[in-house]
């Protein structure tokens, strides 16, 4: 690992972006005859060779089903799958492997909690608290639960900068609040929430908390113990890993008390027609053959990020955020949506008089990939009185040149719509 750190970071501890870019085969192409500028990592990040190679190696060298076979390949697959669990657990700063459940992603992790822990805990007249910043995946599962139970979904509002108003959050944590669920980082605006403080407020009142960490995982060093939450959900594909794999971290006491999420193989110890005994966590929540190669790829993504060094990644992205913010703020007719004091490298913006889709289409033809739309966060859009925004989100492979190309692309938008 030491050699890798030397390779990636100059003596100043800065990220060597050129060497990072060389890890990502997707950049070896042009789109519409122009070098690809990928500013849509918040939707899904590009994949480094190391992650791709880990999946390929799994399928080519040792793939078999896990936890089942007595044979050589099954043992190797099981070892690699469980090694990936160890990597993810370390990535989250947790010591107990039994607390990490592999899921399809953040969405499934939240649904798992809502339909097991949530169903057990929330009753008629109770409340579930979320914030006005949430992605649909941290709204809809709770809404469904509330509908089923006759409970109420309560929303803590955000201010004009796109920050959760803590003074408004606190009084909403009441005796009827059974769960509070917050995003760590907003996907639409990039706001980094003070999750430690928010969780502490809930904890004081004995309210369990879930953190949607999908957007935090690629940018921040995560320590679930320091945050103090009960549940933490994340996705592989946002952190340079494969899609279709993610994880739920939960306190063991909860996982032990929760009913299973899905029934099937793997999650049982004995099955009789009269009665089935469930396996201990995490197996209890991993019914069926899991996404074996995906989990191994997610483990490789953890290694990759670790190799780059969280501090170097954070410094690089902070630089890009500051530069992109400054450059876009200078452009007449461009308005930034979301100006929180602590942000991940996400810049959401609108161009005066031009709909975000038209901005997206024109930037695309300039070789610049951004997201245009409501970002699966319609309530956030409503809060800022816009139907949609264009969103440029940055990753470890982005450079200042990418920002130049974005700015030039916005000039083209204005030219077309002059």
């Amino acid at each position: 690992m030491g050699a890798m750190l030397e390779k990636r970071q100059a003596s100043s501890g800065r990220l060597d972006v050129e060497s990072v870019r060389a890890d990502f085969p997707i950049f070896e192409q042009t789109v519409y005859g122009k070098p690809l500028v990928y500013l849509d990592s918040a939707a899904s990040a590009a994949k480094p060779r190391q992650v791709i190679a880990a999946e390929v190696e799994c399928y080519e060298r040792y793939y078999s089903n896990v936890h089942r076979g007595v044979h050589y390949l099954s043992q190797r697959s099981t070892e690699a799958y469980e090694a990936a669990r160890t990597k993810v657990s370390r990535f989250l700063g947790c010591g107990c492997l039994r607390e990490v459940v592999f899921t399809r992603g953040t969405t499934e992790a939240i649904n798992l909690v809502a339909s097991t822990f949530g169903r057990q805990r929330v009753g008629a007249g109770d409340e579930v608290l979320i914030t006005g910043l949430e992605h649909h995946s941290n709204i809809v599962p709770w809404q469904m639960l509330c509908e089923e139970k006759g409970a109420r979904l309560v929303v803590a509002p955000i201010d004009d900068r796109g920050e959760v108003i803590l003074e408004e959050l606190e009084p909403r944590l009441g005796p009827r609040t059974k769960i509070a669920a917050f995003s760590h980082v907003s996907n639409a605006l990039g706001t980094i929430n003070p999750v430690g403080e928010m969780v502490a407020m809930a904890k004081e009142r004995g309210i369990p908390t879930l953190i949607d960490g999908a957007q935090a995982a690629p940018h921040l060093a995560i320590d679930v113990g320091a945050i103090g939450c009960d549940f933490y959900a994340l996705s592989g594909h946002k952190m340079y890993g494969p899609s279709g794999i993610g994880a739920l971290w939960a306190k063991l006491e909860h996982l032990e008390a929760m009913p299973p999420y899905q029934g099937g193989g793997e999650m049982i110890t004995t099955v009789r027609f009269e009665k089935t005994e469930y396996a201990a966590p995490p197996a209890k929540f991993e019914a069926g053959t899991p996404n074996i190669a995906g989990a191994i790829g997610m483990g490789a993504a953890v290694d990759y990020l670790h190799g780059l060094g969280p501090a170097a990644v954070a410094a690089h992205e902070e630089e890009l955020l500051a530069e992109a913010t400054r450059r876009l703020q200078e452009l007449p007719g461009v308005r930034l949506i979301g100006t929180a004091r602590h942000k991940a490298a996400v810049v959401s913006f609108v161009v005066e008089g031009v709909h975000a889709h038209d901005v997206g289409t024109i930037l695309d033809r300039e070789g610049v990939a951004v997201r245009a739309g409501h970002h699966c966060a319609q309530p956030v859009m409503e809060r800022f009185g816009v139907a949609a925004t264009a969103r440029a989100s940055f990753g470890v492979y982005n450079t200042r040149d990418d920002i130049d190309r974005l700015v030039a692309g916005i000039a083209k938008v204005k030219e077309v719509f002059a």
């Binding site: 031009v354 709909h355 975000a356 889709h357 038209d358 033809r365 739309g373 949609a388 077309v416 719509f417």
Partner: protein
């Protein structure tokens, strides 16, 4: 740039900036709501009928340049047309946007100004923007009560 110019033709930019027949008719005989859930675009079409023809029509809502210009040019095109003529126009318009480009012929003359949307065929993800208003009109003519969706 040329493909972008084909998409964002002057006529389209003009109708985006100053959509014709903008607003809602009150009272009206028919109305429908159109929604593109992928992008959140929403349109409302209201119209009056007289002896089997569309005597007046308006639209309003929020959307991109393509969907607004399409609503605007659609209302111009179908005003005074019979219901059957309007449906035929929709079919030709749809064909213009989605037909196989290799066997495509020039836009049929009946489409008139609507031929400016020909450039959209090079941008498949934007076809739904151009057809949203038409799907909404279709729903209004069919007296569908549920909002129509492009999905």
């Amino acid at each position: 740039m040329s493909e972008l110019r084909d998409l964002y033709q002057e006529v389209i930019l003009d109708h985006n900036k100053a959509p014709r027949n903008w607003g809602a008719l009150e009272p009206h005989d028919r109305e429908a709501l159109g929604h593109n859930p992928l992008c959140g675009d929403q349109l409302k079409v209201t119209l009056n009928l007289n002896d089997g023809t569309i005597s007046d029509i308006r639209f309003e809502g929020s959307g991109c340049a393509i969907s607004k210009a399409s609503g605007s040019l659609m209302t111009e095109a179908v005003k005074g047309k019979s219901l059957a003529e309007a449906e035929t126009l929709f079919e030709s318009f749809h064909q213009l946007l989605t037909g196989d480009p290799s066997v495509r012929e020039k836009a049929p003359p009946a489409l008139g100004k609507l031929a400016v949307f020909e450039g959209v065929r090079e941008f498949p993800v934007r076809v739904k923007c151009a057809t949203l208003a038409w799907h909404t009109l279709h729903a209004a003519l069919e007296e569908k009560t549920a909002p129509v969706s492009t999905e």
